[in-house]
């Protein structure tokens, strides 16, 4: 009873809450980092150094007026923010934060579940998230959100192809679709996949930026052209859901990149015994540190790079990243067959 019901439920509660707290603090981190990049202070008023700002933001968004445009498609308008939030949260079910640990005399694994098709689950759930954006644009019954949502979904679908192709090369290396299995394969091979698949790693990172609609690929939100993006007509908590979904997706991309390419919960150079002293940092902490580095780079890129033009974005995706990903996949296959 405890092993089949209580512990999984506890894990789900902990992971969901940690994610939501992480997401709200990502917003603060982004504001802070961009402020520092521009020699400003960022939020400073709420709490010391503004660390209570997310709570103030949440309260503000919840008590704001919630407007549904008269000519909107009401059901779809209501469902769209939910559809974009839910996939971003349920992906965390298969993310391995750490190996099995001994907690109060009981073996507990630091992931909600390890399914045989873990990576495929991540990809398929993420592909459902695009409906939130398309439907938000459609249901608003307003021209700018519709244009933005068409842009966003075209961008997402295009970059999904390149990203999924890089995932196939990782699967070839690991020989499994299970997220835990992929980390174990890196442990057994004594190397992070970022070193054996640098091209795949690069494409995954660029594709990850594009799939989360982040700068320099944040065209769906290009305010000069589209007034505000697919969520122009949304206000209050519904707008907040889109906002949170974007940050939750950033955390998902960082966690998946950490698991696939940076050895998940493994410490750096897991094969070098001389670095054994690094084990004093617990495994899940390594996972969080690596993911945090990714998240920081996401913000850093936004503070640094200007936005792409739409046709440049499409050309980069279809004429450069996808052929490169296919070539990398073929090469990986040949090397794998030759070496075995």
């Amino acid at each position: 009873m405890i092993d089949t019901v209580v512990i999984p439920l506890l894990k789900i509660v902990i992971v969901l809450n940690a994610t939501l707290v992480g997401v709200t603090y990502m917003v603060l981190l982004e504001r802070k980092v961009i402020a520092w990049a521009q020699s400003r202070l960022g939020p400073m008023r709420v709490g010391p150094y503004g660390i209570l700002q997310p709570i103030a933001d949440a309260v503000k968004l919840m008590i704001k007026e919630d407007i549904t445009p008269v000519r909107a498609d009401k059901w779809v308008f209501t469902a769209a923010p939910i559809i974009s939030m839910v996939p971003a949260l349920i992906v965390y079910a298969v993310i391995p934060f750490g190996p099995e640990v001994n907690l109060f005399g009981r073996q507990v694994s630091l992931y909600v579940t390890d399914i045989n098709v873990g990576l495929l689950y991540v990809v398929s759930v993420a592909s459902v998230g695009v409906y939130g954006i398309i439907l938000a644009g459609y249901a608003s019954n307003s021209k700018y959100p519709l244009l933005a949502s068409l842009r966003a979904s075209a961008q997402l679908i295009s970059y999904e192809v390149a990203v999924t192709l890089t995932l196939v090369s990782v699967i070839l290396m690991a020989g499994t679709l299970s997220m835990v299995g992929i980390v174990r394969a890196q442990e057994a091979g004594h190397v992070w996949f970022a070193f054996v698949q640098p091209i795949a790693f690069g494409i995954f990172f660029i594709g990850g930026l594009a799939e989360t609609n982040r700068a320099p690929f944040d065209l769906p939100e290009a305010e000069q052209e589209l007034t505000g993006g697919f969520h122009t007509e949304y206000s209050g908590m519904r707008f907040a859901l889109f906002f949170l979904a974007e940050y939750a997706n950033m955390i998902v991309v960082s966690s998946v990149a950490t698991t696939l390419f940076l050895g998940g919960w493994l410490r750096p150079f897991p094969n070098v015994a001389a670095l054994g002293f690094l084990d004093f940092v617990p495994a899940w902490m390594w996972f969080l540190i690596k993911s945090f580095v990714f998240l920081y780079i996401f913000i850093w890129v936004r503070a640094t790079l200007p936005r792409y033009r739409y046709d440049q974005l499409m050309r980069l995706g279809w004429k450069f990243l996808i052929p490169l990903a296919i070539a990398n996949l073929v090469l990986t296959g040949i090397v794998k067959v030759m070496l075995l």
């Binding site: 045989n116 398929s124 459902v128 459609y138």
Partner: protein, 170 residues
């Protein structure tokens, strides 16, 4: 017992959404019900302990093909009333004929399978690999290699056809 209850609940949802797909007036809503329908079919696969098929069902149908449907439906202005035709029921006979043919086929399959003792399709225990994904892959590349290759050929033909149709000058 629990499995049977789950099956009937999921089947009821699948049929209910399928009816809504064809009966809803708004085309976008109809496409959305189709997505829900596909998600419940995926749930059925999970119930049958085929997680690989379930994930592929969501990825390809719910996440891929229907997104393209939705694009087309959103871009084509369906709010305009359909143009009048002298015979609005001109396709009714064709539709009835096709529906009858499908019904007949399903009935034939039902009769055929109920008269023969069920032969289990390649039980998992006899395969040299474990794990759902590995077993699907193993079967596709051994016992079912030819159907698999024919299906991929069909997709290739469709892809080339789409390119030829869309691009007049090559």
């Amino acid at each position: 017992m629990a499995e049977a209850i789950a099956f009937y609940v999921i089947a009821a949802f699948i049929l209910g959404f399928a009816v809504l797909v064809v009966s809803t007036k708004d085309t976008v809503h109809s496409v959305l019900f189709l997505v829900l329908d596909f998600l419940f079919v995926a749930a059925l696969y999970v119930l049958l302990q085929a997680p690989f098929l379930a994930a592929i069902q969501v990825l390809v149908y719910a996440g891929g093909i229907v997104v393209l449907y939705l694009f087309v439906v959103m871009l084509v202005n369906l709010k305009r009333p359909p143009e009048a035709h002298q015979d609005p029921h001109r396709r009714t006979k064709l539709g009835l004929g096709l529906a009858a043919a499908v019904l007949l086929e399903l009935g034939a399959i039902l009769v055929y399978t109920s008269t023969r003792p069920g032969t289990p399709v390649a039980a998992g225990g006899t395969l040299p690999v474990t794990g759902n994904t590995e077993q699907v892959g193993w079967l596709l590349y051994t016992n079912y290699l030819i159907p698999f290759e024919i299906a991929s050929m069909l997709l290739l033909v469709a892809m080339i056809g789409a390119i030829v149709l869309a691009k007049r000058e090559l």
